[in-house]
Symmetry: C2
Subunit: 442 residues, 2 copies
């Protein structure tokens, strides 16, 4: 290390930094801007530099030959400080620009990025988008995509916190697989086998016994051997579970409020990003239209013995919701018990049907939820009825010996949610660094 010198970048503190978005309030004042050299345009008498910071873009007008020469030497993406005069210019983006600038790099000149970030549209293939994620997320349109997700997370937590839910953080390394049949990653845990949690399902139900109402935002892991646009090996699950419900309808009501809160948060915290991405935010109706599974099959003209809805059925049901109720959301309740996990609460009147639901958003499944069993004896019967051994679930099932209220919950996949807001086909485009069958980096 002795051969390296460590030049310190002196930043005079006589003037505090102004973000690009705040410049309109500084017209005719000296300003100090910091960001990335997003774009350079050289004309004969003048050069324009566009600087990007976390709030947006600002145009810098360069006339001095020395500064123009410096600009020529600095590649796009070089981190710079610009000190100059802020002036109004209706032609400039944001209505202001910085003139008479001093430009100072705050590090080394950037190498040429693997993608052209300065173009208004980032036109790259999906593999490039994902392989070069560290760079491609810098594009304003890409940043905006994630800001929709980040705002949604705030909305999810704020809505549930305001309703008396307690945030929990449960282990991702577990001793057994969460749900039979699902694929699971295996781990070497100090010489013993362990697994990555496929969901916090068992823990959140256990914690209803403690806090009544809980939510968790965290990674879940599926060793998903399918290479589809809808599946990831690791994704962010927004989980909620609540006690003292009458049935799944109480859960659906909370889900409705939660989704509405997420949409509100996107409006409140990411209005610029909604514009940038062209995301079409839904209006969440005060009451989400609900169809029983049996009636849904009838409506789409499917065989009444079908155990599940096909994508085409979901699309038709989405159209029905829009046409009949003016709603982007439709809930289908009563899915057949045979297609639901063993902890699902059946309909007491017709035990063939469950007290669970799917929430369809614009004709695509977005959320699964429902009421769960809460009696210990029902758990024993449910496992026996499915010919499943008790042993792998013993700790979980044991919880229900000690008084767990009637309860239910739901889980929203963050990436799927964001992709749907954007009308994007592939959930990978809404994931910072996706993991799938083929992808373990970056």
């Amino acid at each position: 290390m002795a051969t390296t010198t460590w030049p310190y970048d002196p930043v005079p503190m006589t003037l505090s930094r102004t973000l690009a978005a705040d410049l309109p309030a500084q017209v005719d004042a000296p300003v100090r801007v910091q960001g990335w050299l997003h774009r350079r345009r050289r004309l004969s008498a003048v050069a324009f530099a566009v600087v990007r910071d976390r709030s947006g873009l600002v145009q810098v007008v360069v006339k001095s030959p020395d500064t123009r020469a410096l600009l020529d030497a600095l590649g796009e993406e070089t981190v710079v400080e610009v000190r100059g005069q802020c002036v109004a210019n209706p032609q400039a983006p944001g209505g202001v620009e910085v003139v008479d600038p001093e430009i100072e790099p705050l590090g080394e000149p950037s190498a040429t990025p693997p993608v052209e970030l300065w173009r208004p549209e980032l036109s790259v293939s999906l593999p490039t988008l994902l392989d070069q994620a560290a760079t491609t997320w810098r594009h304003p349109a890409r940043q905006a995509v994630w800001q929709l997700a980040a705002a949604s997370l705030r909305g999810f937590r704020d809505t549930l916190s305001a309703r008396g839910f307690t945030e929990v953080q449960t282990p991702k390394i577990v001793a057994g697989s969460t749900e039979s049949g699902a694929t699971v990653f295996t781990l070497d845990y100090f010489g013993r086998p362990a697994y990555l949690a496929q969901s916090p399902q068992f823990y959140k139900q256990t914690l209803v016994g403690v806090f009544e109402r809980v939510f968790e935002v965290g990674p879940v892991f599926r060793a998903e051997p399918h290479d589809t646009v809808r599946h990831l090996a690791e994704y962010v699950s927004l989980d909620a579970e609540m006690g003292f419900v009458r049935d799944h309808r109480d859960v659906l009501e909370t889900l409705r409020d939660t989704v509405a809160g997420m949409v509100e948060a996107v409006h409140a915290y990411a209005p610029r990003e909604v514009q940038l991405t062209g995301a079409e935010l839904p209006e969440v109706p005060a009451e989400i239209p609900v169809l029983h599974f049996r009636d849904a099959l009838h409506l789409v003209g499917a065989d009444p013995d079908e155990p599940d809805l096909a994508p085409e059925h979901e699309r038709l049901l989405g159209e029905w919701g829009r046409r009949e109720h003016g709603s982007d959301f439709v809930a289908i309740e009563g899915y057949p018990m045979v297609k639901r996990p063993f902890y699902t609460h059946p309909d007491p009147d017709e035990p063939r049907w469950s007290r669970s639901f799917d929430l369809l958003f614009r004709g695509l499944e977005l959320v699964t939820g429902g009421q769960r069993l809460h009696r210990h004896s029902d758990y024993l019967a449910a496992l026996q009825g499915r010919g499943e051994p008790l042993a792998p679930y013993a700790t979980y099932v044991d919880t229900f010996r000690y008084g767990v209220p009637p309860h239910g919950g739901f889980a929203i996949g963050l990436e799927r949610w964001t992709a749907r807001l954007l009308g994007a086909d592939n959930v990978r485009t809404a994931t910072l660094f996706p993991r799938d069958l083929h992808r373990l980096a970056p």
Copy 2:
């Protein structure tokens, strides 16, 4: 399943539920309470039932022989609904009680719990506390411990969101180990080896290149072969990273605001739990006293060539902070570069010292943070200087070719933070379901 009946618990909806904490506003009105049968006391003419819900406890006075007989048949922890009259009684906890109750179980009678939750103090051994976590967390004093953690999480996020930080969610399954020397869990990833992330360090630095300021709350994994009171194999890390800093002092200032925000959130969202646990919340001084590592060694009378602070040194420095500055917090800056990771920014004037710090809270290390390298050439030199190959870090290091601003950050361990607020020795007591060398369940 055909042999099972599914009795539905009818809950009359003529009256909405009142939480225990809200009963004082319902004096002399009929009320509907739902919760766990926390405690029963039978006297000759009357029986008392204490019902616990998420908000607290309420006393129910039972005189009717039928209801007393029912109460005798229901074990503690049975989930019940109580409908009765709310009356003022200064002797009762909370100043109110419910009289003339109808009591209805909302499920099966509870089995006898493995610990006596009705006792004011939960006096059990650590192994019992952890083995029976699903039950022991139900004790009001235990619930309160986690509520301190949950409120702290809100404070962490709210403080940083208000300062322009973007929440990120980065992968926990990674292709390489984050930091050389640290222990790492190995995973079978579709037939390839992969690892569990030991920290989001590389990702959060990469994302400073995108969003300038980021934070993440999520699990981190250490295959920690030490069985100590301070180490967990999985814990919740509160990470932040910010660009456009002058040096580590800017990072420390943000850390100060963040810790202050966490303390404020605990006051705001968990005042009852602060009382219940007796947690002594610190006052965070407007400016945290800072000592250089060199001066810290001198102050405690240690050898000036010591590369690290011993626990006894930290204790003495904590006393110094309290004595000289009336502060529970002391920051030690300038730790020797040899003891810090390769991405640490050295002090440009004396490259033997780093621009990193530890934050001591009441004489114990709570947070590590500092400025990181931001120039690509510095990364190459740093790895070379340590004789480390570039290849395992290539993707990460490559990021710095494309303009990353001077930046730094910090990480707070949630469980350690909560344990310190409580004055608890063992971080396991502040973890919902801890994972360590020996413990993989519940």
